[in-house]
């Protein structure tokens, strides 16, 4: 009974949101646009920007883990590739931010495709362990390839992005709006993807690989695609993060970051967008509330993984929609015509 009661509550929220969609969108848009002007505390705004970066990382991992069902324990590696490529190009070669960021995404795409190859032979836990090994290898390369990466010294004074000579900083809210814009862009991308045959194929692979093969879905190719897209999004997040913080070193992207991204996806709800936003807000903002929480935060992240798996593996905001499947206007029209005829 308790379970059905809970379900009813969540779904009633969902249909409420659906009925008032326009109003809620307006409120949300106004809130997000006004946020930096209302709360002017720079510390607060830095935390918000950090949350934004982690939302991007969460969206990236969600593509792979939430939709395709492949658990990656080394996504910090892709974040690092994006962050390092972009930062080194800007710092050492004086390349502007956006081309550097694209280069980082391209590098991550190549490595992501390479990382997707083991899916030919390896599944489940073993694949997760390979991704973990990958994350560690990236870290080791960053530490040891000193002529390029500066080794453990890291990269300092990473410049902020510029648009037509206007420098985007935390103080002038440029970073805030850039990150917000990227989140919107990536969210739209994920939504379009999931409402196409590609998205359906990815979810089918998560649900049952053998059955997907029997539907003629080239499973390995789609898994590699998921790795590539996921890596590209995380690299973008990494480039933004590096520019936001201004300093990176190999330990910025350790295993804790990988588990943090995973915790975000799992807490909010794998395979949803709303869950990622909430997961990132909770996990990044919560420890900032007090020093003692900061001290315990990794214990907290661990506890979240354990508790969620036991009590709500679908995440706080992960539920089966009670709304009807969305048919396009055209299809509805045709159906009505048929019904009349």
């Amino acid at each position: 009974m308790d379970k059905t009661g809970k379900k009813w509550k969540l779904s009633s929220f969902e249909s409420f949101a659906w009925r008032n969609a326009k109003l809620l969108w307006i409120i949300l848009t106004v809130f997000l646009l006004m946020l930096p002007f209302v709360f002017r505390n720079p510390y607060f705004l830095t935390v918000v920007a950090k949350i934004g970066c982690y939302i991007i990382l969460g969206l990236g991992l969600n593509l792979l883990t939430g939709y395709t069902g492949l658990v990656s324990l080394g996504h910090a590696g892709f974040v690092a590739i994006g962050a390092y490529t972009a930062s080194l190009l800007s710092v050492k070669a004086g390349c502007p931010f956006f081309p550097s960021m694209l280069a980082g995404m391209l590098a991550a795409a190549l490595i992501g495709a390479l990382m997707g190859l083991p899916t030919l032979r390896v599944t489940g836990t073993y694949l997760s362990i390979i991704t973990l090994g990958f994350g560690e290898i990236v870290k080791m390369v960053l530490m040891n390839w000193q002529s390029v990466t500066n080794g453990t010294l890291g990269v300092k004074n990473i410049p902020k992005p510029q648009i037509f000579g206007w420098k985007l900083t935390t103080a002038n809210h440029g970073m805030y709006f850039l990150i917000l814009f990227m989140i919107v862009l990536i969210s739209l991308f994920c939504r379009s993807l999931m409402r196409s045959k590609t998205g359906r194929a990815l979810r089918a692979i998560r649900e049952d690989e053998m059955a997907s093969t029997m539907m003629g879905i080239p499973v390995t190719a789609y898994k590699i695609l998921a790795f590539v897209l996921s890596a590209v999004i995380c690299a973008l997040g990494g480039a933004l993060y590096a520019s936001l913080i201004g300093y990176i070193d190999p330990n910025t992207f350790n295993f804790d970051v990988s588990t943090l991204i995973l915790s975000i996806v799992i807490l909010g709800g794998m395979g949803t967008l709303r869950g990622i936003y909430v997961g990132a807000i909770v996990l990044i903002a919560f420890p900032e509330l007090s020093r003692s929480l900061m001290k315990y935060r990794f214990v907290l992240y661990g506890a979240i993984l354990v508790l969620m798996m036991r009590f709500r593996p679908s995440g706080i905001l992960g539920w089966r929609s009670s709304l009807p499947y969305r048919l396009s206007g055209n299809v509805k029209k045709k159906l009505r015509k048929e019904a009349d005829a």
Binding site: S196, A204, E207, M215
Partner: protein, 262 residues
């Protein structure tokens, strides 16, 4: 038999696992528009036959001709594209996807638009997506699941899950539908309803090859029946011939332990 009508010809296929011969020299034919059944006790090698037909296993020996072309060396994905689709003995739907989405996944190979056009929601994308959605809805109507299109697959009752699996197989554009023990786990009434449903599919022009261990289930609707036991063919013919065949009766009543279950 008129060659034009032949959809599937299986010639003496054999499969070994290590030293064990799972299927030996099994041959059969399916014509367009027929319902053909392969029966045999549990462990007779029926599912192995299906796995060879769909490319999950490669045959060690023998040929499989679909529309006159050899397919025994092909990968599963290619075989589906040529027009063979299957269901599974222990239902394998995509449980956390909606009924209609399950059918849309079935239509995957019939969906042509590119990755980029789906991201930018181009006209080509929208038109094709509309078309396959309408087709999926039509198939759901055919199998009687139209009203449940928004449900999640795992919420369907058992019988409906079987039907959804068949709908998904139809959506691939299959010319031949393979049903792996469709009546497994059903009570007599459910299974006779399912057989009516398969008869309906036949009426709509679908070709069905099914395997079943309970021969009474398939008697009424099969055009022809092949019997295998311990991986070897033991009889073939019309349902009434099979029912009178002494070897078949022996397998089902005397020789095999599995007969006790039936």
């Amino acid at each position: 038999m008129d060659r034009e009508d032949l959809l599937l010809e299986v010639e003496e296929i054999t499969k070994r696992f290590g030293g064990i011969v799972a299927v030996e020299n099994v041959s059969f034919r399916v014509k367009r528009g027929e319902v053909v059944s392969i029966i045999g006790p549990n462990g007779a090698g029926k599912t192995t036959v299906f796995n060879m037909l769909t490319g999950v296993y490669k045959t060690d020996h023998g040929r499989i001709l679909f529309e006159g072309k050899e397919i025994q060396r092909r990968e599963p994905g290619e075989i589906v594209k040529r027009g063979i689709s299957r269901t599974f003995q222990n239902i394998r739907l995509f449980p956390d996807m909606r009924v209609i989405e399950n059918v849309l996944v079935g239509a995957h190979i019939k969906t042509g638009y590119s990755f980029l056009s789906s991201i930018f929601r181009s006209r080509a994308f929208r038109e094709e997506e509309d078309a396959i959605t309408l087709r999926a809805l039509k198939i759901l109507k055919e199998v009687g699941l139209y009203e449940r299109r928004d449900d999640y697959a795992s919420n369907l009752p058992y019988g409906d899950q079987r039907k959804l699996e068949i709908a998904r197989a139809i959506a691939t554009g299959a010319k031949l539908i393979l049903l792996d023990e469709p009546a497994a786990g059903m009570n007599p009434q459910e299974s006779s309803e399912l057989m009516e449903f398969i008869r309906l599919l036949k009426g709509r022009g679908y070709t069905v090859l099914m395997i079943e261990h309970d021969m009474s289930v398939v008697m009424k609707i099969s055009d022809r029946i092949y019997v295998i036991d311990h991986g070897k063919p033991i009889a073939e013919g019309l349902p009434e011939e099979i029912a009178r065949n002494q070897r078949v009766i022996n397998v089902y009543l005397g020789g095999s332990q599995n007969a006790v279950e039936n």
